[in-house]
Point group: C2
Chain length 562, copies 2
């Protein structure tokens, strides 16, 4: 039996586009003599479709796509994810389902049982969990069909769940596992995903074919990395990350394959720590880099935009954003404004200009002093006798935001936000100023990680100027200002933020870990009192296990640790 | 037996504050010879605490509050909502629970079974559903203890759920039902809540005591309206909306009471359509008005702010917002800016000034032309040869946003956003301009409803000037501009938006209802392509059954109906 995995970049609600991609993939699979092609979870509508699921019309259009695929299933089995109606009145109205289509018929449907409802996931908002599990017989083979999270409770060891769907199917002695996924990227997830696949296969001793979605859906990025595993837990193949891929595998090859054979390391057990022969390399910074590039590219492509604009300050965050944008969209589609204030250091403009020239992107220099002066004059009466303070800093940031948005409105460039995760955490940024933008490219990357990212960008020759990297970070909104005037050094701040945000450690745990009590109190308070700013921030491209946005839902009027 | 209901305005994460209120209520109940006092759902931490539940420290502090209440339970039963740990490894880590404390002991705990996971609710994100249901014996009475949604699946008729918790308890023959709720306001909800309470009581023929939370939690407003129902379904008492309340009831009085007795209408069945004697009046516009006032007041009070600022344009939305703010915070705490542009009509400033003087609020006039001119000059080279378009309109709106935020930053006033729901739906507003603000007061009120609201505000004499009400709505950002240049008339637009947003009708259903096809397509497209703006909008005070924000989660890169 020949099995095709189609790893696709799907677009939420773009029924025509998604269907066209799947029809083309079916044609290719047929030309490769495949018996069966497998698409990702909820492929007809893209994932996550969120509250579109509450519209009857949306579900009807999903069903229409399934009908169209059924029509072309003559001679080939097509396995595709789609929502289906729950025929029973009790419980949620929909299932998250996998259709098995063949010869113009639906020969099986398996619903999803384990519905992730944590972090960015809201599946129990829409779907009823499956309670029935049956294998599907196809061309003399028994197939255990499963959807994403359904393989993440192996032997009921995941505390979130009380049922293990594959355990329920094993008395039927399936020949292999098919899994349809929409498993999102974070920099640690590909490793975890392979581990969980291996644990499944080692438990059931049958091969697994795992088809994942790829590409960016605003904030959430899917990395692909679809998998084929042999019965001994060896990775027969892992598809590349962040790009579409279609490959056809011979089941017999996969069954006969073992880790020892591929790696040549006879007697070795597969190690989770390093990639085996079939696997993709997993370097954290490279993964983050690639995810950000695809996140930018797909945000523009899926919204129908081509061109980006951003403010280039001479600092490291905007420099890195500009390089990533040029990679994602082409330098000809990136334009920058250099907007010095009276407090900008002389070489800020030079550094920014040097980067723009290196990248070959269009740049303009617009000094902000005339607008700043006009605001100060307009408010002179109200502000009489008041000292220069954060108000004046914010006016400068908002003048810049207004200039960038004016360029965006006039020429159709979409503004990229350059805020990093450290700033976003502690609210070190101006709402409606430097927090403007359609998407926050670095909003899930801590400042200390940005220094690693810049090394990666400069690995084959200097792109980001050395001076941009080595000078102390500064907003340059008052004379001689440095970030460390208001914040702890990033080497101190970032590990604390990581423990609080990603690992959800509370104050006593943080102090027990060795963080200074006064620092803990100060930093946690900064994080919590700035929830109102993050509520209005641009969506953040998610690369970590806990990004701001849908994955972290915090009260604004909360009084906890604030 | 004497039972006290304590309807409290709780503050998320403010453990000391919430505990102090409950301790005081216990003292009052004791002084009223109560046998039992009942607090709302999750009262120790306030509702909705969202992802604070993911912090161990937060749960420990909830437990600490329960411990403190247990200490003062000598001689009085205290029923209070708190998260508790799920001792079993499988399933979610927490339960949403009701503690029954008495004489220094926990004499019962009932967990919640029906976990709302729709609209603004995310309970399955945190909680495991209860599977055990037992009544609690207290002073010779059996009590059916239940939490909020647990009474919303009477006889399993709610399609969302598969279990009816009270049905499970009835074989133990309880004497009455206690329900701890955090049931949020929308303008139709008090009516529905009474209906569901009546249906329960009519099924089980025992009294119900229902304690609800009250007050604003940023976007979500709780209206209180706690209930006492007699065994025949009569409303013995409904507590007032939008204010704290404590009352002690004699169980025997409630049991002996019937609808006929109270209303004097012998032989009448209670009518759901009009309030019976024990009920509060339910006028939609008055409810919206009161909810908005409490929403503003609690947003400021809970964040520790006193003063508000807003831009007063002479139009109806900012006028209504100013009146509501003056009611919520006192006129001495509201300040407004009048910011005419070269396109403002002469009487816009007059109308705004007249309102400010009527309300007795401080106002300043700051013309925006100097800043606007400075922006146009700064971008003259880039914009050379380009016609005046929406860019220039947006610059004006952003200059206003910057002026307001500068006042906010300098003097600590919090900016109120004045956008209405019609504009917010179709994206008729400037991001970082008139969309600025800490909270959107009218973001869940359609323009046509604002005209009703203004009638209510003027019912005892003109507050909002007649000219503000009668002139055609205009953004006044270009010569002679009217809203109807860009949008259908609001009488046409609003009913269509209501069907799409509140009722989730799709295009074919809308056309079948009689809306013109071209209009449907145009309006739905406007709604969907502007998701990126709403993503960065201020939180909206929720008054309808479907508000923008947490209750409506839409993809940004979605291509559906766009």
């Amino acid at each position: 039996m020949r099995i095709t995995i189609s790893q696709l970049n799907l677009h939420i609600g773009n029924f025509e586009g998604n269907l066209a991609k799947m029809v083309a993939a079916v044609e290719t699979a047929k030309s490769q003599q495949a018996d069966l092609i497998c698409f990702p979870e909820l492929a007809v509508c893209g994932y996550p479709a969120r509250d579109f699921f509450e519209f009857d019309d949306f579900i009807l259009r999903c069903q229409h796509s399934v009908d169209e695929l059924r029509k072309i299933s003559h001679g080939i089995g097509i396995v595709v994810g789609s929502p289906t109606r729950n025929p029973v009145a009790a419980g949620k109205d929909l299932y998250n389902s996998a259709y098995f289509l063949y010869n113009g018929e639906t020969i099986g449907i398996q619903h999803k049982a384990l519905l992730p409802t944590y972090d960015i996931f809201d599946e129990y908002r829409y779907f009823e969990p499956a309670t029935e599990f049956k294998t599907i017989e196809f061309k003399g083979k028994r197939i255990a069909l499963s959807i994403c999270e359904d393989i993440w409770n192996v032997g009921n060891e995941n505390p979130l769940y009380t049922i293990c769907p594959l355990d329920e199917m094993m008395h039927e002695k399936p020949d292999f596992i098919l899994n349809l996924s929409a498993s999102p990227f974070d920099y640690a997830h590909a490793e975890t995903r392979i581990q969980i696949a291996k644990v499944n296969v080692e438990r059931y001793k049958i091969p697994m074919f795992y088809a994942n979605q790829v590409g960016g859906q605003t904030d959430v990025i899917f990395d692909g990395g679809s998998l084929v595993l042999s019965p001994d837990g060896s990775v027969f193949d892992e598809m590349p990350y962040f790009e579409e891929c279609l490959k056809t595998y011979d089941l017999e090859d996969v069954v006969g394959f073992s880790f020892a054979q591929k790696s040549g390391a006879v007697g070795d057990k597969p190690s989770f720590a390093k990639a085996t022969a079939g696997e993709q390399p997993k370097n954290k910074i490279q993964l983050i880099h690639d995810a950000l590039v695809v996140g930018i590219r797909d945000y523009f492509q899926k919204l129908g935009f081509k061109k980006a604009i951003l403010g280039l300050s001479g600092g490291i965050d905007s420099a890195v954003t500009a390089v990533l944008a040029a990679k994602a969209l082409g330098p000809e589609n990136v334009r920058v404004l250099l907007m010095p204030s009276q407090f900008s250091s002389g070489h800020s403009v030079d550094d920014a200009r040097q980067l723009a020239e290196t990248l070959g992107i269009q740049y303009d220099i617009v000094a902000i002093k005339p607008m700043y002066d006009a605001f100060e004059a307009a408010l002179a009466q109200q502000f009489a006798g008041q000292p220069f303070n954060v108000t004046e800093e914010n006016i400068q940031a908002r003048v810049r935001g207004t200039l960038l948005m004016a360029m965006s409105n006039k020429f159709g460039h979409i503004l990229l936000n350059t805020t990093n995760k450290s700033e976003m955490s502690v609210g070190y940024g101006t709402l409606y100023g430097d927090m403007c933008g359609g998407i926050a490219v670095l909003g899930d990357v801590y400042k200390t990680e940005i220094y690693e990212l810049v090394k990666y960008l400069n690995k084959d020759g200097e792109v980001v100027p050395q001076n941009t990297i080595t000078k102390p970070p500064s907003a340059e909104l008052r004379p001689g200002q440095k970030d460390t005037d208001s914040l702890p050094p990033y080497e101190v701040l970032d590990p604390l933020l990581f423990q609080y945000i990603e690992c959800r450690k509370g104050p006593s745990e943080l102090i027990a870990m060795g963080f200074e009590e006064a620092l803990v109190k100060r930093v946690l308070r900064m994080v919590n009192i700035n929830e109102f700013k993050r509520e209005q921030a641009a969506p953040v491209i998610r690369v970590s296990t806990k990004a701001f946005g849908m994955g972290r839902r915090m009260p604004i009027v909360g009084k906890y640790l604030s």
